[in-house]
């Protein structure tokens, strides 16, 4: 099993632990991720405010690189995934648009490679049971809510992934690694996304509501598959006690017993180790030393 890999800009910066845990988990499972050489930013979520064609041509250049490689493309970031799928959809379904994109990027689209959601690669291609068979340390006692956000599931004709109102893929994977998945109704609500800098007040409100609902559902932590959701969830929380947001790959890595897992926790703005300790999970590492809790830094 081998895929072309598009990390996107966030996995080298604010979502660094998503990139690290993705690499570690895929490596452990023996699934090849071959990074596209010379990839560029997909333009999310600003290009489409300026120019429709630009917003399709930027991700399409990466599709062209994937096509050269001949391997299906995996983009862990929900926003990158969404933009790649939007370009792919236009190239497949709109001849006029396709001519414009091909001219802007300088390639001929063959449609031979597809863009795959990373959750689906693990859930369908590798298989939930095969994942469960790799678990060394089931995450029993850890209560979580899966949080997909918007761009993995909407708009459904473009993302073509799971049920847009009631997705199940992440819950299946989390159950396979022994975590207790709590039912809640906010798995696909918006975190406020790119308004985080210009209208932090709106994002704070969205995030507070999500965390409150997660707490009501009985969860100790949220689990995401999007670097912007994750940073918003951890950076824009206002009420104590703060609830960490894991990437699903981090929890899979932890359940596989990967020793590097404890390095990921130090990258979080909200230290997740107390939650892991409280759930009695061995190998959770120690609370981050030398890093003040964010709330203190802000004061």
């Amino acid at each position: 099993m081998e895929y072309s890999y598009y990390p996107g800009c966030s996995l080298h910066s604010t979502g660094i632990e998503y990139g690290l845990s993705t690499r570690a988990v895929f490596n452990h499972l023996g699934i090849g991720l071959i990074e596209l050489s010379g990839w560029n930013c997909c333009g999310a979520s600003s290009a489409h405010a300026f120019d429709h064609n630009l917003a399709l041509a930027l991700p399409a250049r990466n599709l062209a690189l994937a096509q050269q490689s001949g391997r299906d493309l995996v983009a862990p970031c929900a926003a990158c995934f969404n933009r790649m799928k939007a370009a792919d959809y236009s190239l497949r379904n709109d001849p006029e648009e396709r001519a414009l994109i091909e001219a802007a990027v300088g390639f001929h689209f063959t449609g031979e490679v597809t863009v795959r959601p990373m959750l689906a690669v693990l859930h369908d291609d590798y298989g939930v049971e095969a994942i469960a068979a790799q678990v060394q340390q089931p995450l029993r006692g850890l209560k979580v809510v899966p949080y997909y956000g918007c761009l993995l599931v909407r708009p459904p004709q473009i993302t073509q992934f799971d049920d847009p109102d009631h997705p199940q893929v992440m819950a299946d994977l989390l159950q396979a690694i022994g975590a207790e998945v709590m039912p809640w109704s906010y798995a696909t609500d918006c975190c406020g996304a790119g308004l985080s800098l210009s209208r932090a007040d709106i994002v704070q409100k969205q995030v507070s509501r999500l965390v409150e609902r997660a707490r009501e559902a009985g969860a100790d932590a949220l689990v995401t598959a999007c670097p912007l959701c994750q940073v918003n969830l951890e950076m824009r929380q206002t009420s104590q006690p703060m609830m960490p947001a894991f990437y699903f790959t981090e929890l899979i890595g932890l359940a596989f017993g990967l020793p590097e897992a404890k390095k990921w926790w130090r990258k979080h703005l909200i230290d997740p180790t107390p939650v892991l300790h409280a759930a009695g999970i061995p190998g959770a590492g120690v609370p981050a030393k030398g890093l003040e809790p964010l709330a203190k830094v802000v004061e």
Partner: protein, 184 residues
């Protein structure tokens, strides 16, 4: 007809805003509606009625978070997120002062960095936003330090090897497409 807002919006977005029959499903599901002036379905009505100034200067078109909840729920399959994008494009093209100037500033900075480097660079975007926006200077300084201490905002940009090709794509889209202005 050419100067009619509904006509231009439909052409740019590939949607038909006149199909809206105001069931309010979009507005009921919109996560940012309480910060808006009109809300999605009211805005569609204003577009259909050619209320150019009101629509293109409203903060609503910049507050849309692009979550596609409205687009997914619309019984008439209007992609309202795409309509919002088209309205942003028209507003920029006509040089109208954005109803949310900081939101537009963020988009300009983000896409300006991508045009120059081929990839985004958080430290540059965040730093420029802090200096150029009218948000209070000390806002988010703590969060910025927290991200920096965790190695999450590298000061040096990555070399993508794609910068020149990406600039060519920007050039190509500018010359072939709609007469949008330069992002930065």
């Amino acid at each position: 007809m050419l100067n009619n807002l509904a006509f231009e919006t439909d052409r740019l977005s590939g949607q038909t805003v006149e199909l809206c029959y105001h069931c309010h499903k979009c507005t009921a599901g919109c996560p940012v509606v309480d910060a808006m002036e009109f809300g999605p379905d009211h805005l569609l009505r204003l577009v259909a009625l050619d209320q150019r100034q009101e629509v293109l200067s409203s903060r609503d078109i910049w507050l849309c978070a692009g979550c596609y909840t409205c687009a997914t729920r619309c019984p008439n399959d209007i992609d309202i997120s795409a309509v919002m994008d088209a309205l942003r494009q028209l507003s920029i093209r006509e040089g109208i002062t954005a109803g949310e100037e900081n939101a537009l500033l963020f988009h300009r900075l983000f896409i300006g960095v991508v045009e120059r480097m081929g990839r985004s660079h958080e430290a540059a975007t965040l730093g420029l936003f802090k200096v150029l926006s009218d948000t209070p200077l000390m806002n988010d300084v703590g969060a910025g330090i927290g991200l920096f201490l965790r190695g999450k905002v590298p000061l040096l940009p990555q070399r993508s090897g794609a910068a020149r090709e990406v600039r060519a794509i920007f050039q190509e889209c500018r010359s072939s497409g709609e007469p949008t202005d330069k992002a930065v």
